[in-house]
Symmetry: C2
Subunit: 333 residues, 2 copies
């Protein structure tokens, strides 16, 4: 595992230099998100926990960092015909918002089973919606058609150096806000977030541990780490709708080399952690956003002697876009 | 209406001097709560909105400011036998926590119909619970018995200069954080919060407007302002469980003189504003905490020419303690 702090430039799709460039490019657009903490959750976990609240980021998730870095990296000739992406979630809203700020069209291919609130976010930021079936095949074929028709350029949600670099700006902020951090727990899906976070954090502070948090029903990253190669799953089954993607060829090498462990948690642990985020922190998170807290409270983390001296732990609360319709219905009865 | 900035010292139960003293007394215990904002909510309301998030205060509500000021104001001889209060809500948790920090017992009389999450908060902070019936008569008689048995001193939730002064520290922080504020919208119940906020804000910035937000089903403050005397209601009916109290003899003169208007909103407007707090701001608020946003979006505020030039509006998000059981049940199905 390469965690001695000397990460060879050019080895991966991004590095500390591209992440610092991303920061300069996007810092006037993004929110510097606050760190929340709770003495109660510290006592429950036996550690000092620092919640980096990317749910307060524009668009309600960290995705705006990568999307704005990618979109503002485009030359005018590339940008003029707009951008396209296929996503059921936070990346779609982030691309819509970043494109709006750049003054170019965003074409968003959304599978018909996407959560209402995430579709609503795309509309709010002016993305032009094209519907697809839920399958990846349908998403990709509709996207290809849109690209052919419009000349728009594809912004991939994670397997892209500009996206990874944008997400990595979280670590630059975090280590400035709380320099004593010794561990960062990051939700893992396609790997864009954790790749950027790991590259920046280990470049700045080589001793830092990067732990991934993954739901049991979409544990391709844990399986990939165990097998030493990318494993994809025939299907996924988790309430964490943001964590269903699989690693890509650009994120996998970074995850393989820089992620110290993938902690797998059950959906019921995610719900319990969500409850704590709402009831203790008063922060409205989506299931994916709560998985870091679920991981730190899990038996497998708490009992692992390797993590016994993880004392100052940052938890990336990745997003807060969740349908709470049942709650509003209960009030309106 | 006395809003020319010259508020006579000693006229009310608190003043800018007692509020500044409170700040010095409590600032090492309390959180300086952050201000949140949303470009989307600014565009919806046509104003710049600054949400002062007291839901992130210790204990999940502004109440900890007043409770800690009152409890740390006590002489050792007064404090030694502990404190007592009767409350179904946030004041009870706040008194428990402040007493715990002072190292004295807190006896909390709780009506049997209190929300679970608020009882849980009292337990979390080590308050000793005594149950009463839901009526004020039962609450008071149980409290009296506890005082007789223990020698503990009563900490009233709002009708007390030390409580008013503690709550007033919000304005000191707010006007330091966002000096351009021209209007503050504050939930009103017993009047402790708005009294402190108004006294401090109008002392510092005489031109500032203080608007109260009150639910239709507990609109005693609006009726009192209209009648020129304290009006109490035979019953209340609102989802905002924190806003059911009536003005007291110490808060009424301040509300009468310094509150520019009471904006009355419907429960359905409160639910709509809660939804926006969760979905847009990603902040978990209780109904009472969302009422300020409901007020600024209401027809009666938006159409009133008197508030046309309210451009930079602070909204006090008073608390975030709410039972979301139905949500967790839906996930655990």
């Amino acid at each position: 595992m390469e965690n001695n702090g000397h990460i060879q430039s050019g080895k991966y799709a991004a590095d500390i230099s591209s992440i610092k460039d991303a920061k300069l490019r996007i810092e006037s657009f993004i929110h510097k998100t606050p760190i929340m903490s709770s003495e109660y959750l510290n006592s429950v976990s036996g550690r000092k926990l620092f919640f980096k609240c990317e749910c307060f980021q524009k668009g309600g998730a960290f995705k705006f960092r990568g999307a704005s870095n990618a979109i503002f990296s485009l030359g005018n000739d590339q940008a003029v015909k707009g951008v396209v992406t296929h996503s059921s979630g936070n990346h779609a809203a982030a691309v819509s918002l970043a494109a709006k700020l750049r003054g170019i069209p965003a074409y968003i291919v959304i599978p018909k089973n996407a959560p209402d609130c995430k579709v609503e976010n795309v509309r709010r930021y002016g993305g032009k919606i094209f519907w697809s079936e839920a399958t990846m095949q349908s998403r990709e074929s509709v996207s290809t058609k849109v690209m052919e028709d419009t000349g728009a350029i594809l912004i991939h949600p994670f397997n892209d150096g500009r996206i990874i670099s944008g997400q990595g700006t979280i670590s630059l902020e975090l280590l400035e806000q709380i320099p004593q951090i010794d561990t960062i727990i990051v939700p893992i899906s396609g790997g864009g977030l954790i790749s950027g976070v790991a590259l920046a954090a280990k470049a700045i502070k080589p001793s830092i541990r990067i732990l991934a948090a993954e739901p049991r029903g979409a544990n391709d990253a844990a399986q990939s780490k165990a097998a030493g190669r990318i494993i994809t799953l025939p299907e996924t089954n988790t309430i964490a709708d943001g964590l269903r993607a699989f690693l890509g060829d650009l994120t996998w090498p970074i995850v393989r080399d820089l992620v110290d462990e993938v902690i797998v948690v059950e959906d019921k642990e995610i719900v319990q952690a969500m409850k704590m985020c709402y009831e203790i922190l008063k922060v409205a998170v989506e299931p994916s956003g709560a998985i870091g807290l679920a991981a730190v409270l899990s038996h497998s983390f708490q009992q692992n002697p390797a993590w016994k001296d993880c004392s100052n732990i940052a938890i990336i609360v990745s997003g807060g876009n969740v349908d709470l319709g049942i709650l509003w219905e209960s009030y309106n009865k």
